[in-house]
Structures are given as C-alpha cells and as structure tokens.
C-alpha cells in the first residue's frame, strides 16, 4: 500500500486506473448534486466489490472532520470544510473495524431509503448492532461509535442526513409571531400554549413552508428553562419576535430553522446565552458553523447573528450580587483560551475583551442567575435594556 493516510481527494473517474479506487468523487457544491442517494450507497458497495475482484485493497475516502481540515472563510464568514481526506482501509489494523461499521451503517441506510422509512440515529445504532459471527465481538459497543459513522457517511457520500433517511431527536422549540405549514398542517405559532412548537430534525422547505410573519427578529436562548420564562411572560407578544431555544448546543434542525428564518424572512437573530465558554461556543456554532459539520455551514450558519448576553461586563452593568457567581475551573479557562484561538474569533477585539474579562472575573454566570434580582428581571429589565444597546452587543 503505497498510499498515504491522508491525501488530496482527486477527481478519479471510475476508469481503468490501477490504484485502489475510492468512493468519493470530487466534492461538488452542496445541494447541486443530482445523484440519487440510492445510487450513492450502491456506488459505495460497488467500489468495494470492484476493488476486491481487481485484487486491490478496498478503501473509502472520508473528508476529515477536525479543526485541522476546516478554515474560516472571511468572505462568507463561516467555517468551511477543507478537502483533506482520510482514507479508511479494510486492511489496516486500526481502521478495519471502522471500515466494516461504515459499510454496515450504509447498508442500513439503503434499507431505509428503499423502504421509504426514516430512523433516528439511536434506531440506526440498534439496527446495525449485532454480534459478529464466530466471535464475541459486537459490531457496535455504543451509540458513540455509530453516530460518527453516520456523519462519516454524510461527508463521504455528500448526502445530507435527511437524504439518508436518518434524523436526530428534536431538542429545540419555537414560539412567536409566525405562521407556517408543517407537513400540510398550518401552524400559528402564537397559539401554542406554554409548550411551543418542537423544532423537528428535518425542516427543509418540502416539509415546512413559511406563510405569515409579523416578527421583527428572532431571540434565541440557550435552553428550555429560560425559554419558558420568556414564554410565560409573553415576551414574544410584547416585543413582536420569535423565541427559540436549542436545548444547549442546537441541533441541526434548530440551526437550519434559524438559518431559514434569517435567510428567507430576513429576520435578525440575537442570542441570549450563558456567560461561560460553553455559551460562547454555542454562539460560535450558530454564527459560523461547527467544526464537525463544517460541510453544512453554508446551509446553517447565520453570520449576522449577534450575542446580546450574558456578558462578563453585566456583573457591573447590572449591579449583580455575589450570588450569581459560579467559580471557573481549570477546564473552563483552558476552553476559553481555545476559543480565543479559533481563527473566527481572531481579530475581534470585543470578544477578546469579553473572554479575558471572564477569566479575570474568575467566575461564570448563567442566564437564570439573573433571577436572583427577581423572577421577571430577565424578561422585563435585562433583555429589553440589552436590546436597546446594540453597540454593546458582541459580533
């Protein structure tokens, strides 16, 4: 095997070339590929068979999903995936199992597509899990093994998750001045009670179409509990907005929804997140995409999103008490420094100040800590006030 572990994926036509053929073709622009998913999955299996009969060692090229293979494009202002690929070979001691798992998950996706059914990533895990013949070994030991394999397949086949008929559980919710159609049902998001609308994993235009929008902007908060505070205080009504949350790190469905609200309805997106490295990172993912799913940035990232709080300076700004403080630990500080070093944070003076201030403070703050003043402080005073000070938002 004269091949290097990583190599530039080249446009190799399925021709009489002697070297092992790999599955991926040249990465095309997202969304512009007309090849059907079934054909892609078949192509994967065919390449293995072809290589085997041609006495070549089968391998799959998988674009690398790591910081080393992403770059921040200052023009588009989101993270883009590089074209470095990792070769996954069957006859490599360290890769053999992952190779087998990739094919196994692919075959399960093929079954789903053929039967026109969808399965959650957890269901995929159980579909593909079994004991390997003649051993005591399991094909998968945990879902932690199968989830990345699904992502591998997405990037290797340039197929979206929904095209593979796989979805993740819905985590986020939406409420506010919007009317839309989901799978043929018209939904008035002002009439959703206290629970709101659970944002599904797949929010593509073929499933959801926007009808009427009276909102002026989207306010995205970090998690469910904060979101409920805003709902109970009917913040969306008073301020004519749409309220969303992502249950922590927003899922693809939530991010895609934010993207569509911003892209199609031209709504600004502002974020209210915890004052800690985790909150900063959530913001970063909404704004410029994630490292892991960099290949989907173009259809998910909202580069115009803004961070309105909670800021390290709010402790002074709002005259908060010691009760809001949570001490930073070593990991927080390490993570903060890591975030500062991401290319997309580089050169942003305000962010540099913000993060350095947090480290200097020595503590972090949750949005909910604002309740220490009084229960509705966050909806009646803090947020309205922050919304009036766009100059102090972070970009």
């Amino acid at each position: 095997m004269a091949k290097k572990k990583t190599k530039k994926s080249t446009a190799k036509k399925k021709s009489a070339s002697k070297s092992p053929k790999t599955v991926t073709k040249k990465r095309s622009k997202r969304g512009s590929n007309g090849v059907k998913t079934t054909a892609k999955l078949e192509g994967l299996a065919e390449s293995v068979v072809e290589n085997a009969f041609g006495r070549r060692e089968p391998a799959i090229d998988i674009p690398i999903r790591a910081l080393s293979n992403v770059s921040f494009n200052p023009k588009t202002r989101y993270i883009e995936m590089g074209d470095r690929c990792q070769q996954r070979a069957l006859f490599n001691y360290g890769q053999a199992k992952r190779f087998m798992q990739t094919l196994l998950v692919a075959s399960k996706c093929k079954e789903l597509v053929d039967a026109d059914k969808t399965a959650s990533i957890r269901q995929i895990y159980y579909l593909a899990k079994h004991t390997i013949k003649g051993t005591k070994e399991k094909t998968f030991d945990s879902q932690d093994e199968s989830d990345p394999v699904i992502e591998d397949l997405e990037v290797a086949l340039e197929a979206l998750r929904e095209e593979l008929h796989v979805f993740a559980g819905s985590k986020g919710a939406l409420i506010g001045e919007l009317t839309f159609v989901d799978s043929g049902d018209t939904i008035d998001a002002t009439k959703l009670g206290s629970g709101g609308y659970a944002i599904p994993s797949i929010v593509e235009p073929n499933v959801i179409q926007f009808k009427k929008c009276k909102a002026k902007y989207v306010l995205h908060v970090e998690k469910d509990t904060v979101w409920r505070r805003f709902v109970e205080d009917r913040f969306w009504e008073k301020h004519r907005c749409i309220l969303t949350h992502g249950g922590g790190q927003p899922s693809r469905g939530v991010r895609r929804m934010l993207y569509r609200l911003h892209d199609e309805l031209k709504l600004p997106v502002v974020c209210l997140l915890d004052n800690d490295p985790w909150g900063y990172y959530i913001y970063s993912v909404i704004k410029q995409g994630s490292i892991n799913l960099a290949f989907e940035s173009s259809r998910m990232a909202v580069p115009n999103a803004r961070f309105i709080g909670v800021s390290s300076f709010d402790y002074d700004r709002f005259d908060l008490t010691d009760d809001v403080k949570i001490e930073l630990d070593g990991n927080d500080i390490k993570r903060a420094k890591q975030i500062l070093n991401y290319p997309w944070f580089a050169g942003k003076k305000a962010w540099e100040k913000e993060i350095k201030r947090m480290v200097k403070n020595g503590f972090k703050m949750e949005v909910e800590a604002l309740c220490s003043k009084n229960l509705t402080f966050v909806t009646e005073e803090y947020t309205p006030q922050r919304l009036k000070q766009p100059k102090s938002w972070l970009d």
């Binding site: 078949e42 299996a45 069957l90 087998m100």
Partner: protein, 660 residues
C-alpha cells in the same frame, strides 16, 4: 591414584591436631572447628555452674579432644543430613559425585547405575555403581570409614568433591540411623579380585571399623559399588533424587545414568556427547589467594631451602624475576635461608606479595561444560522453544581461577499456556522462572536464596529482556536459567555444598553471562511479539470479512462467495508479513529455519519441532524425540581454547545399555 595415598597419609596425621586443621587452605573447615571449640567451651562452663566452682585442675579432667566424626555426627545438618528427605538426596549426591569424579580422572565415559530400594516405610537402601578405576584394597576402609579423608582436598584442581567428607558422612548417617554398616565392592580391573568390605565408622576415634572383608565374584570388570542403608524418605518433584539425576544429566552430557527408583521404574539418561570433559591440570596456589597462616605453613613444609626458590617454586605466576623483586621489597634476598625467616619476615613477604601485580592464575585447570554441551543438555532436558548458552572467559576470585557458564530456555511447554493464548488459559498467571544451579557440574538443590547465582538472577533487570518481573524477585515467565560455576575451589557457604558464596568477582561474571544470554532472549521475544502482532492483525481482517460481504450484498448485486474469497485472498496478502521475520528495526529478514542466523549458540525450535504437549516428565528415557530435536547451534567463531572440546560435541552415544 598415587596422590590419593599421599594425601590420605598426610591428612591422617593432621586430623588429630586441631591447630593443623586450622591451617588447611579452606575456610569452611576451619570455621567448623571454631564452632567446635565454642561448643566445647560452652559445655564445660555450663556443667560447672550447677555444682561447685571449677578449678583449672577439675576442668582439665573434662578437657579432651573431640573427634571430627563425633562432631559431625551431632551436627549432621552441616553436611546436609538435616532431615530424612534431604538425607537420601545428599547420600545419592555424594555417591554419584564421587563416581563421576573417579571415572573422569580414570579417563572413561561414566556409566552409573543408581538404585533406591524401599525396605520399609522410612527405610531405604541406596546402591550406586560406577565403571571407574576402582579403589585399591588398602584405601577402602579409610575412604569410607573416616571423615576428612580424600584425594581432592590438597590439590587445586577442578573436581566435584573437594573436602574428603562426602561419602563417609553418608555412610555414617546410615550407620547412626540403622546400625547397618556400609557395603563396598571395588575392583580395579579384569583379572583382579573384587573386594567386598562392610565398614562402620568408629565415631569416637574417627577410624574405620571393619565388619567384614572378603573377595567376591562380580559380573563387571572394573569400578566401585557402594550400598548404604538409611532412614530416609523418598519424594518426587523439586529437590528430589529424580531432579538431581535429571540435572546431573543436563550438566554432564558425556555421562550415562541408569536410575531405578523405589517404584522399580527404570529411567535412562544416555550419553549424547562423545568427548570427555578436557582433563584439567592441577595448579599451584596463586599468591593472591593465599592467607598468612597458610603461607607460614607452606614455609615450614616446603622442600626448598632458599626464599627465592620457595617463592618461584611453590606458587603460580611467581617467576624468578618477580621472586627477586618480592625478596628485595621485603628487605631480604633470594638467597636468604628459609630457616632464618621469622614470622615477622613472613608477614612482610605476605604483604609485598599481595601488593605485587601478578598475572592471573593459568586457567587450564578449568573444564567448563561448554556452550554447545549445555545446549545439548537443555534441549533434551527441558521442553522449550528458545535455547541459548554462553561460556564466560575464565576469571579469578581470591587467587582462584573460575569460569561461569549460563544457559537459558524459554517458552514452549515451559508455560502450560497455549502459545496462541487461547481461551481460559489466558487468565492463568505465567509461571515463575526456575533457576538451576551447578558447581563443577554438580546440581545444587538447596539454599537457593543464599546462593550467589540466585542473587544475581534476582538482581538482573529482566524487564530489559522482555520478561516481566517485580522488584527483587524471579521473573514471571516460562523460563529456565542455568548457571554453572567451574572452579578449582568453589566457595560454598557450608560443608553441605549447597550454595555458592557471594564474591564480587563471581557475581560480576554471573551477571555478565546473564546479560549476554539475556540480550539474545530479549531479541527473540521482541521478534516473537512482532510476529504475533501481525498474526492478530490477520485475525482481525478475517473477522470482519463476513460482515462486509453481507453489507455489500445488501447494497448491490454480487456473488457473496466470490467476494468472500477475493477479500480473504487480499487479507492473506496483506498479512503475509505475519509469516516473516523482522529484525529489531522492523525490517524483513530471511525466513526462519530452526536456528537463528544472527545469534551464536542459540536454538529456536519451530512449533512443529517442539515436543507434543502432554507429559511434562523431563526427558524420562524418551530418546526418540530427543534424537529428532537435533542441535542446530551455530558454531561460535570466537571460542576460548577451553571450550574446544565441547565444540565438536555431537549428539551421539545413543546405544541403550540396560543393566540389571
């Protein structure tokens, strides 16, 4: 056997004089005599304290000589007769050692017949016969009926026995425990009469007591047969007679031993080397190994008249030129008459001698087993997969030349572990390594932890050689290490000759030998690990092929069998490496063929060559497999002159001789 009589006569007169014994050039005897003096003093004062105070006169009545046999009869543990089990082993050891010594001195290939008969629950009879030169009639009573009577004490020559206590002590033990005398039949050649003696030791006088003396007819031409009845117990396994015989066979591949145990089973260890160990030469004492008292005694006893002649004549490595220097430095001349040399002069000479740079003693007094003979011995005695051996160049401690040899056997059936690490066996703890020790080709079975060889093994960092080991203990591995010390005077820690004393020089040589062989072992183990790594890899590929075939079939149309075959072929090709040999840098070297082309005196057995699993009984007469597993040791280019004999050793002498 001229010197036997001379030595005997000399000892005979010395025995009674306590002071003379203390001058013997051997520390252990003098220390025993010191003990003896202490015991004597203690006994006297204890008795007195109970009655009236003693005067010098009353004490004088109690004060008398203690015979050496009386002393050892009481302190028989000093000679290795501490318990019934050990007593049997020690007796066998003394008899066999003597037989081997006698045969080698007489220049014949030893053929020894040993039988242990069980007479009652704890009563046994040991019969040992050799084909040696025999013993002249007049000497038989002294040899077997007297302690400290022998031919080997007064010379510096490599032999198994050295003290002149051995066989008579065994006889004495038999006599004490059963009241039965020792029976000896000896014949010095065809046409000569065979004398049959029955002897008891008069312990009071340390003199033989002749019970019977007659001439008998025997079916053999030459040799000695001794019979001792004793209270003992017979056991199997470690520290047993069987182990002793087995180890003796390993260290003496030139010997045939036929052993019949109490179960009447006959085990034969056939000679597989057709050369006797090289005849060693007697050497004169080296000045650096001589103590002041001995120097004084030598001055008194020498036939030389003048100092220069004495020094250059009685010592090794003292040339007339050096003798002249030494005399000058001591303020004397070569011509100084010895009669006029006083104790203070001798002390001066002694000190000058110690400071003078002298060449090390000559080493042609040593006959090592030889690396190849060790390999031969290990190969037939121990079922392993890797064997290596090395003979260190001679070295010197306290003026005594010695030579260390190391052998190692590793893996194979030594670990009851299945080599592929299959199934439940994997959970088994690896066995603890075993050390087999030899001094002048005699196996040492007791006092292992007190032995210099054992300490050196425990001290070695085996982790460096690929074996696991916790601090200061034996490595945990299917591993046997053999250490042999050959010397004109092996420094035992006690008269029972069970452990080698811990001299720095000896320790250093052992460690060098261990690391020399250890490095080869380490290389082998590293290569083996690499091989198993590749085999494991192949296993992984094959494991997943089925899954991949099924997945492919689910996505596209293909023939499952064809695909499976194609992938299996590729897997085999990808892991061809598993069948290759790698050097230390991971480069492929030529295919393995039994021996290792890079290592001297090393044998590696392929799996098919290793004896089939099953009976772990060590080469119990199973010479078929022994013949098959031929030695393919590569001949070392640089060999010391001494090991030449062993170099030509080939496995031969397969003829079976059953004796009744």
């Amino acid at each position: 056997m001229e010197d036997q009589r001379a030595g005997g006569a000399c000892l005979d007169s010395d025995i009674t004089a306590q002071t003379d014994i203390q001058l013997q050039p051997q520390t252990s005897i003098s220390s025993s005599v010191e003990t003896l003096t202490r015991i004597k003093a203690g006994k006297v004062s204890k008795k007195k304290s109970r009655t009236s105070r003693a005067s010098a006169e009353t004490m004088a009545k109690q004060q008398r000589e203690i015979s050496i046999s009386e002393f050892f009869a009481r302190n028989r543990h000093l000679l290795g007769f501490d318990n019934k089990r050990k007593a049997l082993l020690t007796s066998v050891k003394e008899a066999v050692d003597n037989a081997l010594d006698a045969c080698e001195e007489g220049g014949v290939f030893p053929e020894i017949y040993l039988e242990i008969k069980q007479l009652a629950e704890d009563r046994f009879r040991m019969i040992c016969r050799d084909n040696g030169p025999g013993i002249v009639k007049a000497q038989i009573p002294n040899i077997f009926g007297k302690l400290l009577y022998g031919s080997k004490f007064h010379r510096l020559k490599m032999s198994r026995g050295q003290q002149g206590i051995g066989i008579s002590a065994a006889g004495m033990y038999g006599l004490i425990t059963t009241g039965k005398p020792v029976s000896i039949i000896s014949r010095t050649g065809k046409g000569k009469p065979a004398h049959h003696y029955k002897l008891a030791i008069d312990t009071k006088k340390n003199k033989p007591d002749i019970i019977a003396d007659k001439t008998v007819d025997v079916p053999w031409d030459r040799g000695t047969e001794i019979e001792i009845e004793m209270v003992a117990s017979y056991n199997k396994g470690r520290q047993s007679v069987a182990e002793y015989i087995e180890l003796t066979a390993i260290a003496n591949p030139h010997t045939t031993i036929v052993f019949k145990g109490p179960d009447k089973k006959v085990v034969e260890y056939l000679r597989n080397v057709d050369e006797l160990p090289e005849q060693t030469e007697e050497i004169k004492p080296h000045p650096h190994g001589v103590e002041l008292g001995i120097l004084m005694k030598m001055v008194k006893e020498t036939s030389a008249k003048q100092l220069g002649a004495f020094l250059s004549g009685e010592f090794s490595r003292v040339s007339p030129k050096i003798a002249k220097e030494v005399c000058a430095k001591s303020g004397l001349t070569q011509r100084t008459w010895l009669q006029s040399v006083g104790p203070s002069d001798i002390e001066k000479i002694y000190n000058v001698l110690q400071e003078t740079k002298l060449r090390a003693p000559s080493t042609n007094c040593l006959a090592p087993i030889g690396a190849e003979a060790i390999l031969n011995g290990l190969l037939k005695g121990i079922k392993a997969e890797f064997y290596t051996a090395s003979t260190r160049p001679p070295a010197v401690y306290r003026g005594n030349p010695f030579q260390i040899e190391v052998g190692m056997a590793f893996g194979g059936q030594l670990g009851s572990l299945d080599n592929n690490g299959n199934g439940d066996e994997k959970s088994k703890q690896p066995p603890t390594a075993r050390v087999i020790r030899f001094a002048n080709r005699v196996p040492l079975l007791y006092q292992q932890s007190g032995c210099c060889t054992f300490k050196s093994v425990v001290d070695t960092k085996w982790n460096n050689y690929g074996l696991s080991q916790s601090r200061s203990s034996l490595p945990q591995a299917p591993f046997v290490v053999l250490i042999h010390m050959a010397s004109v005077w092996v420094p035992f820690t006690s008269e029972s000759k069970e452990a080698i004393a811990d001299y720095d020089e000896i320790r250093k040589e052992i460690k060098l030998g261990l690391s020399e062989c250890g490095r080869r072992l380490g290389t082998y183990i590293r290569r083996k690990k690499k091989r198993s790594h590749f085999a494991q890899r192949r296993d992984v590929f094959h494991r997943y092929i089925h899954e991949i075939v099924e997945s492919c079939r689910a996505m596209t149309v293909c023939n499952k069998d064809d695909l499976r075959n194609a992938l299996s072929d590729l897997a085999a090709r990808a892991t061809e490496a598993a069948d290759m040999e790698f050097d230390d840098h991971g480069k492929i070297i030529a295919k393995r063929k039994g021996s290792d082309s890079e290592m001297d005196n090393t044998i590696v057995l392929g799996e098919s060559e290793q004896a089939p699993p099953g009976q772990m009984e060590l080469f119990a007469g199973d010479d078929e497999s022994v013949t098959e597993r031929k030695v393919r040791a590569k001949k070392s280019k640089k060999k010391s002159k001494k090991s030449k004999g062993a170099k030509n050793a080939k496995p031969t002498g397969k003829k079976k001789k059953k004796r009744k």
